[in-house]
């Protein structure tokens, strides 16, 4: 077979395949056409039936309208419930945040109170007060003042941010610190910073049953802290009461220790004399 003959044969085969596909496609089309015809007949028959009974149409329309109305009501109800659920969810989320904040505040107050009463050593009590003011309040410059009943004056005994000697003495009833201690009320100014060491932004009186023991004067907050919070005011109240109690307890303990040592020494002397 020559090359030309082969080409013709090959083209013939291709034409045959094409023809077969076209034939198959035509068959499919005819089948689909038949199905459509029967569907059309079905629809026409239903239309004829409905046209003969218009009341059926009305009943169907009424029924469908009723169903649509019910569905609309259900949808409105579902949307309302969804809105309520979202509102409740938002309310719970807000409550969660509030409780979380309250929890944090209580943890801070508990730890501060625990640490203040964890020791009877005066130095450690002072150290704890400083830790609370630095770490929990966030103060950068402050001083803890001791009140001397003899001359009714306040002298700085511990400080942070400045040398102890830089902090001025106060007299009870005079200046912000003296007046705050005399009144037994915390002073909290509007600013978060004061350069004048005679005028702190916060003065917390340390009193036990109206007996003045000292004060905490805050002059500057840490760089990252812009203002006082609700927790700070709670901490001021806690410090005012608990720090004062802790200071008094440590002083009484030191005094009783000293007295016990003196008495022991005295008894020792008496015993020695009795023996000799």
């Amino acid at each position: 077979m020559s090359t030309d003959d082969q080409g013709i044969f090959h083209k013939g085969e291709e034409f045959q395949k094409l023809f077969d596909r076209a034939s198959e496609f035509t068959r499919d089309l005819m089948e689909a056409n038949q199905q459509l015809r029967s569907k059309l007949l079905e629809v026409q028959s239903k239309q004829n039936e409905a046209a003969q009974n218009p009341s059926d149409w009305d009943a169907l329309r009424t029924d469908l309208t009723h169903k649509i109305h019910n569905l609309e009501e259900e949808k409105t109800d579902a949307l309302e419930r969804l809105r309520e659920a979202e509102e409740e969810n938002r309310h719970f989320a807000e409550r969660y945040v509030e409780i979380e904040e309250e929890n944090n505040n209580l943890a801070n107050l508990y730890v501060a109170s625990f640490q203040l009463h964890a020791t009877l050593d005066s130095e450690e009590v002072l150290q704890t007060i400083q830790e609370i003011v630095i770490n929990l309040v966030g103060a950068e410059v402050f001083a803890v003042y001791d009140f001397k009943e003899a001359n009714r004056s306040l002298k700085a005994v511990a400080s942070e941010g400045r040398e102890l000697e830089a902090f001025p003495d106060f007299v009870l009833g005079q200046g912000i610190v003296g007046a705050s201690l005399e009144a037994g009320e915390t002073f909290c100014g509007e600013n978060a910073y004061s350069d004048d060491l005679a005028e702190p932004v916060v003065s917390i009186p340390l009193c036990v049953q109206d007996k003045p023991l000292g004060a905490i004067a805050i002059y500057k907050l840490l760089e990252q802290k812009e203002q006082f919070t609700t927790l700070d005011h709670e901490l001021f109240s806690l410090l005012g009461g608990h720090a004062a109690t802790a200071i008094l307890a440590s002083r009484l303990y030191t005094q009783s220790e000293r007295k016990a040592n003196t008495m022991q020494g005295f008894l020792g002397l008496l015993t020695e004399r009795g023996a000799s």
Binding site: N104, I134, N135, G138, E140, Q224
Partner: protein, 124 residues
């Protein structure tokens, strides 16, 4: 799942407060150290899942401790969170450069500590 967290801070108040917050995560146990040197000893003799480190501490400060931890073998994976009073950007950059993973400033909220700890421990 159990997690072991190291708290390095010279303030007993802060250590207690941080431990208080962290114990809200189930399975957390706390080890405390009062300065950088004690922290280094603990971190080299035990395995931790997270370390909370203060910067200003006696004996060895927090930055030195972070540097020492990161130069130790097999310690580059330990998440380190700095909790400090130092709020300047330069301090933060320095701590992060040395290998800290997170930087929080005091006064810190318990919820903040909890969120950061959960991020590193539980992956939340």
């Amino acid at each position: 799942m159990n997690y072991k967290v190291l708290i390095v801070d010279d303030s007993p108040t802060m250590r207690q407060l941080l431990a208080f917050s962290l114990k809200r995560i189930r399975g957390v146990s706390i080890v405390e150290a009062k300065d950088g040197m004690e922290g280094l000893k603990k971190v080299t003799t035990d395995t931790f899942d997270l370390a909370l480190i203060d910067i200003n501490m006696p004996v060895m400060d927090g930055l030195k401790l972070i540097h020492m931890i990161r130069t130790e073998e097999n310690m580059d994976e330990l998440p380190i969170v700095v909790i400090t009073t130092e709020g300047a950007d330069a301090d933060k950059e320095r701590a992060l450069e040395l290998g800290a993973n997170e930087y929080l400033t005091k006064p810190v909220q318990g919820s903040e500590v909890l969120a950061v700890a959960k991020k590193f421990l539980v992956g939340l």
